[in-house]
């Protein structure tokens, strides 16, 4: 695998002059340190517990390169299918990893609120290097190091104390297949900070040209101050041939609320990591997820909820729909630290296998070091209920529509927990499209 790491080093060296021209020696040093870290770690292997069921060889064996500036020749039509039906507060559109102001939309935000591209935030001299490297948790995560090594753009969101954004912020990351230099790689970084008693909804949408074999390696870092409330949506609609690796790290202070809604419908090889550290008393954390895959695709969701302080509550529901030869992996770790008494944690994960060949590897992982806590977990893997299917058909519904209705019902409790109606509608449409593809409508 050394050879493949060398390719990244070579690609990094190719980018260096451009980065030097745009200034910021500190930033280059940050990137360089991360590159060394990545080189030292290498790509993970299935011998590592965290990657036991997910081989990243398909990524490691390919060569990817950064998009050259100004190769972004993507029609706005592609963006339109990913836009939300109502106008968000701000919609930042990134094509091939770079912010495209012409496709983005902004509105006046409350005073001192910042929603801008990371590239412009870095250019205007904001001291964000510290934020890019505070990711202690990244030390063992080669893909996070890789993201930092190539960090160029993404979003910077800062909501000051006692400020409520009543419209969502939408970030759209779009990959175009047309890259002159072969398969494309993107390393977006999203930084979100919410001040005390502030509130916001942030939606990250990932998509790409159909059939594109690009590699998205994204990192989102979230800091929630006391009493802050964040609804965080990740809508992963990548091309079915794409690779998507994403890590979300959250640190929540006292009484903050973090709700993650992770939707994963695209990608040939997908790995999502969500790590939430509940670092103050009374934090409420919700991690919900819904994923689908068919053909030979693989979707891996790893979550960690770290109850570091007492009186925090976490709720987690992940549901997967797997057809044909698809594979799913779910690993839900819940850590309850010695001080975290009165922790209330509940985890559920369920998978629906639509074929004999679909598979799921699921593992709840509870590490409890406190004694006065309530932690429950449940996992279930099943097929569609034949009796229910017959019941629906016996009333006149066709086989395919009856199946779709039951699959949709399986997904319903994740969908029903989506607070934003417009996002729910968006996801419903996508889900119906996915189901129609897997189960073509019979008469």
């Amino acid at each position: 695998m050394t050879g493949t790491v060398d390719q990244y080093i070579a690609e990094w060296e190719r980018a260096r002059p451009r980065w030097q021209r745009s200034g910021g020696d500190n930033l280059i040093r940050t990137r360089e340190a991360a590159l060394r870290q990545f080189a030292a770690l290498g790509f993970p292997t299935t011998r590592q517990e965290e990657w036991r069921f997910t081989s990243v060889a398909p990524i490691a064996e390919r060569t990817f390169s950064l998009a050259r500036p100004a190769t972004a020749a993507i029609s706005s039509v592609d963006v339109d299918s990913l836009r939300l039906t109502t106008t968000p507060a701000v919609e930042l559109v990134f094509v091939n990893g770079r912010h495209v102001p012409e496709l983005s939309r902004t509105r006046t935000l409350p005073a001192r609120s910042r929603v801008e591209s990371l590239s412009s935030a870095l250019e205007s001299g904001n001291d964000l290097e510290a934020r890019l490297t505070t990711t202690r948790w990244a030390e063992k995560q080669p893909f996070v190091a890789l993201n930092t090594a190539f960090v160029e753009d993404g979003a910077w969101i800062q909501v000051p104390a006692r400020t409520v954004l009543d419209r969502p912020i939408h970030l759209v990351f779009l990959a175009s297949r047309d890259n002159a230099d072969g398969a494309l790689m993107l390393h977006p970084r999203v930084l979100i900070s919410l001040g005390e008693n502030s509130q916001a909804s942030v939606i990250e949408t990932y998509g790409g040209t159909a059939g594109g074999q690009y590699f998205t390696n994204t990192v989102t870092d979230i800091e929630l101050d006391e009493n802050a409330v964040l609804d965080h949506y990740k809508l992963q609609y990548e091309s079915a041939a794409a690779f998507h690796v994403g890590a979300t790290h959250v640190r929540a202070q006292r009484s903050a609320t973090y709700r993650s809604h992770s939707i994963s419908f695209g990608g040939a090889l997908v790995r999502n990591d969500v790590i939430a550290v509940l670092d103050g008393e009374g934090v409420e954390c919700t991690l919900n997820g819904l994923y689908t895959a068919d053909a030979q695709r693989l979707v891996d969701n790893h979550t960690t909820i770290d109850h570091a302080q007492p009186h925090c509550a976490s709720r987690e529901i992940y549901k997967g729909i797997l057809a044909e030869h698809a594979r799913g992996v779910f690993n839900g770790k819940i850590i309850v630290r010695p001080d975290a008494q009165k922790t209330d944690a509940k985890q559920t994960n369920r998978a629906l296998l639509l074929s004999e060949d679909a598979q799921i590897n699921t593992k709840p992982q509870l590490e409890i070091f406190a004694n006065d806590v309530k932690c429950t977990h449940g996992a279930a893997v099943g097929q569609l209920d034949d009796e229910a299917l017959f019941y629906l058909r016996s009333r006149g519904l066709g086989d395919a529509s009856a199946r779709r209705m039951l699959i949709h019902a399986f997904a319903a409790d994740v969908l029903n927990h989506l607070p934003l109606e417009l996002v729910r509608a968006h996801i419903e449409t996508r889900l119906q499209r996915e189901l129609a593809r897997v189960l073509p409508a019979a008469a």
Binding site: D385, D386, F390, R393, S394, R395, G396, L397, A412
Partner: protein, 253 residues
Amino acid sequence: MLQVRNLHAAVNGRDILRGIDLSIATGEVHAIMGPNGSGKSTLARVLAGHPEYLVTGGEILFDGQDLLAMDPESRARAGVFMAFQYPVEIPGVNNAYFLKAALNAVRAHRGLEELDAVEFMELVRDRMTRLGMDESLLNRPVNEGFSGGEKKRNEIFQMAVLEPRLAVLDETDSGLDIDALKIVANGVNAMRRADRAFLLVTHYQRLLNYVVPDVVHVLAEGRIVRSGGKELAFELEEKGYGWIDTPANEASA
């Protein structure tokens, strides 16, 4: 309307129906009675097209069509309805949404236009009022958390909305208190028409006090061993099933 000829069926490799002959004309109400395990419910499920029941011989004609060649949804669209003995709970599927989809599938087959939401609600409210059903059941998931009586009533409600040509009620009267039984019976009686037939599968004579059948059949060990008028039901109630000439009784006689 319905001709069953020498029907044999098995489930999990076990023969249950061993040569049923049954003929139901339009406008008629037939009752099938019989002890547990006689094959009553199997007959109902075979008529509805349950995939677990394997037909090993014989034929079923419905309006001259080969019913056994049709999948369950085609039978439903052609006008066959079975009220389930144990209605299935389907979490996450809204009762109204499901019924509207079913009704429109049936209507499309009959060459009728789809009902829009308003027309559908009008129809549904009318049927619910007739059956004394609580409208809140509409917005709950199909049968989920329904009491036994609510489930049975929901079956009759679906029948009233879908307006089948042949309604098969599989022990819809079991487990009902007398008030619920009357509501179910009234629901059936209100739907009796010259162009519709009913097959009531029941273990007890009680339902037949309220829905008076034209013909009563007694099923034993997978065969119809006796057919007669409504008085046959009273005889069964009085004497039990022991006196019936089942093949086993004959053998021991």
